[in-house]
Amino acid sequence: MNPGERLDSLGLKPRRTIRLALWDGEEQGVYGSYLYVQNHFMDKQFNIRPEQKKISAYFNLDNGSGRIRGIYAQSNAQVKPIFERWLKPFHDLGATHVTIANTGSTDHLSFDWAGIPGFQFIQDPLDYESRSHHSNLDNYEHLQIEDLKQAAIVVASFVYEAAMTDKMLPRKPLQKKNFLFEGF
């Protein structure tokens, strides 16, 4: 599950710094990632901090323990062919699809708001709308360990690729709009 540790155990030397973030308060309005982004990258008055210009990409995994089927390119047309190439080694693991579509309601939106390319993986929605998910019945026994391993492989590989590129990933123009979950 931990892409950083997995890369390190292989003795790889990524060219860019890799940060691992575990967010809290997502369901209440992406509190953790939104405050992190404000503290590090851009405030509510759209003042850009120097760090904002140095982040190539943010990758998000949120929707339970179902395996990865692909990734949302979040309307970033330039990034789509890049992700298609990065996903190729994992077609046999069932991760095949890069969609140009947006997806919402999770922590990559905080980064997208601040002009940093942020992407969410597409996952199998296991038990997603049942009584286990988002409740105190959602315990260890509901984890699909084999699916989590597949997800760790795909996420680690995407993070590694992003850490090795000469240039940062292409960005969309900064919108300077109030954040979707502001005031939640």
């Binding site: 155990s9 292989l10 691992l20 405050l35 315990n139 760790a152 690729e161």
Partner: protein, 93 residues
């Protein structure tokens, strides 16, 4: 047209080099490492069963978060730490 074609081919090639796979063998190495010696079961065990229920900002959450920071530091990520997420969160008395 004869001049434009090689130019566009060169542009495509440079895009491919810039954003191609850094090293095609790495994906396989990551895959083999995860499938042969995954850390997921015990990490998940500590984050869930050992930490207990983890509502935002609750004591169970803090237990899991502090375990994560300590574990990351143990792995050599010396700058691991907690960042603020606002004032939301409580443990029901």
């Amino acid at each position: 047209m004869r001049k434009i074609l090689p130019l566009s081919a060169a542009l495509l090639l440079s895009t491919f080099i810039t954003f191609g796979q850094a090293n095609p063998g790495i994906a396989d190495r990551i895959r083999q490492a995860e499938l042969s010696s995954s850390q997921i079961p015990w990490i998940a065990h500590y984050l869930t069963d050992v930490s207990g229920p983890r509502l935002t900002g609750s004591s169970g959450y803090m237990k899991a978060a502090e375990w994560a920071v300590a574990t990351l530091k143990h792995w050599g990520l010396t700058r691991a730490g907690l960042e603020p997420w606002g004032t939301f969160g409580f443990t029901r008395a």
